[in-house]
């Protein structure tokens, strides 16, 4: 059984001592480094895709200014007085920005799988939970940044640039981004190919968007639709955003009642704090499922 000859081994040993490196092995510090680098990769990639940032803005802007303006002309009767319907839509459009950007980030795992990069991550000596957490936080950061860009338009739709309001909105958007990214990663773990993205858009993203009350008030709906809106995780994120916005604008009381009705569970009006807690719990649950999906041994 031939091995390398003796002389070579000695030479090689010397260089090995110099080059020898301690390598990660499951300590908390290693996992945090993994979370951090996966997170940073998302940011680098996002910062480099200017086109994606611009197209990511165009859709919400169209909804807000085209659809919003169009709807304004038919809505005033029910909304009462001179209330601007675009103000109503603004939080919905923020949620839309977060939703679409987040799903896109999360589903990029399928691209990573297709182009092999996922394997580079999965064979590393770090916990899968660290990789998935980094991916989720990275995608959430990117989506929140994209959503924050939308805040520039607040003034155009009658929402004041109040620092406290903006901070509250950013926090709620970050929560939304976290929940949707975690959900998106769960979906991505089951997706075999990039082409399925259309299916996800049609059967997950668009229903979530329309059922959340982003575009219309969850008020006086038929029972079946009313039930569906309450099953949509996004509902519990859009409604708090809308409450926050409405607390900073002057809305006639009857318009407030019809545009931002309470979300009820069997007649109980769900407070904003509970909606936020529900969302945090959902986000963590999705993240747990995502980690489980990616940790299953083959």
């Amino acid at each position: 059984m031939p091995g390398p000859d003796g002389a070579d081994v000695t030479d090689i040993q010397a260089s090995a001592t110099v080059a020898s490196v301690r390598v990660a092995g499951g300590t908390l510090r290693d996992d945090l480094r993994a979370v951090s680098i996966v997170w940073r990769r998302e940011l680098i990639r996002f910062g480099r895709s200017k086109l994606r940032i611009i197209t990511g803005l165009s859709q919400p802007v169209i909804y807000l200014f085209v659809l919003g303006t169009g709807l304004s002309s038919i809505v005033p009767a029910s909304a009462g007085g001179n209330f601007n319907y675009r103000t109503f839509m603004f939080p919905g459009v923020l949620a839309m920005t977060i939703l679409f950007t987040s799903i896109f980030s999360a589903v990029s795992i399928v691209w990573d799988r297709e182009f092999g990069f996922l394997r580079e991550m999965l064979v590393a000596p770090v916990r899968r939970s660290a990789l998935i957490t980094g991916k989720c936080l990275g995608g959430a950061t990117v989506a929140t940044a994209q959503g924050a860009l939308m805040l520039v338009f607040a003034g155009f739709v009658g929402v004041p640039y109040s620092p406290v309001l903006l901070i509250e909105l950013v926090l709620l958007m970050a929560l939304t981004a976290f929940v949707v990214n975690a959900l998106g990663i769960v979906i991505a773990s089951r997706m075999e190919q990039v082409e399925s993205f259309q299916v996800v858009m049609q059967f997950v993203v668009l229903p979530m968007f329309f059922l959340s009350g982003a575009l219309f008030p969850l008020n006086g709906l038929p029972r079946w639709l009313s039930v569906l809106t309450r099953l949509d995780p996004l509902t519990y994120l859009v409604q708090p955003m809308r409450r926050v916005v409405f607390s900073y604008v002057d809305v006639p009381p009857d318009a407030r009642a019809s545009l931002a009705p309470d979300v009820t569970w069997f007649g109980w009006p769900v407070p904003v704090s509970v909606m936020v807690l529900v969302s945090i719990a959902l986000g963590l649950a999705f993240l747990g499922v995502a980690v489980y999906q990616f940790s299953k041994p083959e």
Partner: protein, 332 residues
């Protein structure tokens, strides 16, 4: 080496079954530290499944495997720390620069920050990509990507580097460059290399080769011994006087020559060594000489009784759903 005497890779009765399909059927072998060990066989023979099990990406359904002394099932993290991987398909992020890809790897493998910079430069210089470090990987050619992957596989100073078909899909010139790097590597780093290939000429670079077919190791030996077992090289001559040449070959070398397609053919052991003697001693002017070495088909035929082309055709039927780690990463 603190653990001298312990094999770099030790495999006993290793097995992988997917339902009814036996992808790997109880193989055993061991690889010595510092050795370049090649797995040679047709596509679908079980090469990639074996490499995936050794890399902890696929769980064996039977047998044991230890890498640098650690069990691939029980000590997955320990194994992963000690191995570098260069996959058949690229696993780089096209939208990051070369340097960013390597930094990503360094962070995931916990390479100390103080040495990341110097180590990065070292491995990138080794594969000749230091000047391109700030370029996006998507601008790289196939060969450059493979070199970058080799650099990345070495970044954390693994004890064993796994290369799954390191040159597949590359043009011949690039293939030979990759081999230059692998040989430089062998000289510079204290590293064991385990590679798979279905090119016989590449197997020549290995210290030892295992031929694998239908999930079984058919034979393990040095390339020279394998080729010798196949038989002799074929030396073909064009001469000014074929009849005189044939007579001289019989008289001076004791070889029986034949003429085919206008060339004089003889079968000899060690054809390349034979050529200088031929010029010195034949006594008939020689216009051209060619030496044909045993091919993969010859070696494969010798041990399996069929050609590699046939083997690949039937294997692709058999293993349609079973190619590589893809299965592993699909399900995570």
């Amino acid at each position: 080496m603190e653990d001298s005497g312990q094999p770099a890779i030790e495999v006993a009765g290793l097995e992988k079954r997917y339902g009814d399909l036996e992808a790997v059927r109880g193989i055993s072998f061991s690889v010595e530290p510092g050795e370049i060990f090649g797995f040679l066989g047709p596509n679908g023979a079980g090469k990639s499944t074996t490499i995936s099990m050794l890399c902890t990406l696929v769980r064996p359904t039977g047998g044991t495997a230890r890498v640098d002394g650690f069990d691939v099932m029980a000590d997955r993290t320990e194994v992963r720390r000690r191995i570098g991987l260069v996959f058949q398909d690229t696993t780089l992020d096209d939208y990051l620069t070369a340097q960013e890809n390597l930094r990503f790897h360094a962070e995931l493998y916990g390479v100390p920050r103080s040495i990341v910079g110097s180590r990065l430069q070292e491995v990138m210089e080794m594969v000749g990509l230091w000047d391109r470090r700030t370029h996006l990987v998507r601008t790289f050619s196939g060969g450059m990507k493979r070199r970058l992957e080799i650099a990345r596989g070495l970044l954390h100073s693994p004890r064993v580097l796994f290369l799954d078909e390191p040159t597949v899909g590359l043009d011949p010139q690039t293939r030979s460059h990759i081999w230059d790097y692998i040989n430089v590597l062998k000289a510079r780093e204290s590293i064991t290399m385990f590679l798979t290939t279905h090119y016989m000429d590449e197997a020549e670079h290995c210290d030892r080769i295992a031929i694998i077919d239908h999930g079984e190791v058919v034979v393990i030996d040095t390339p020279a011994a394998l080729k010798a077992s196949v038989g002799r090289d074929r030396v073909q001559l064009r001469t000014d006087d074929d009849e005189a040449a044939i007579a001289a070959l019989g008289e001076r070398f004791g070889l029986e020559a034949t003429v085919s397609e206008g060339e004089v053919c003889v079968q000899v052991v060690g054809g390349e060594e034979f050529v200088p003697r031929l010029f010195a001693e034949l006594g008939v002017p020689i216009r051209a000489v060619s030496v044909a070495r045993p091919t993969l088909d010859d070696v494969f035929m010798r041990y399996t009784g069929r050609t590699i082309r046939d083997a690949e055709a039937s294997a692709s039927e058999r293993n349609r759903n079973n190619v590589f780690v893809r299965a592993g990463t699909r399900r995570g």
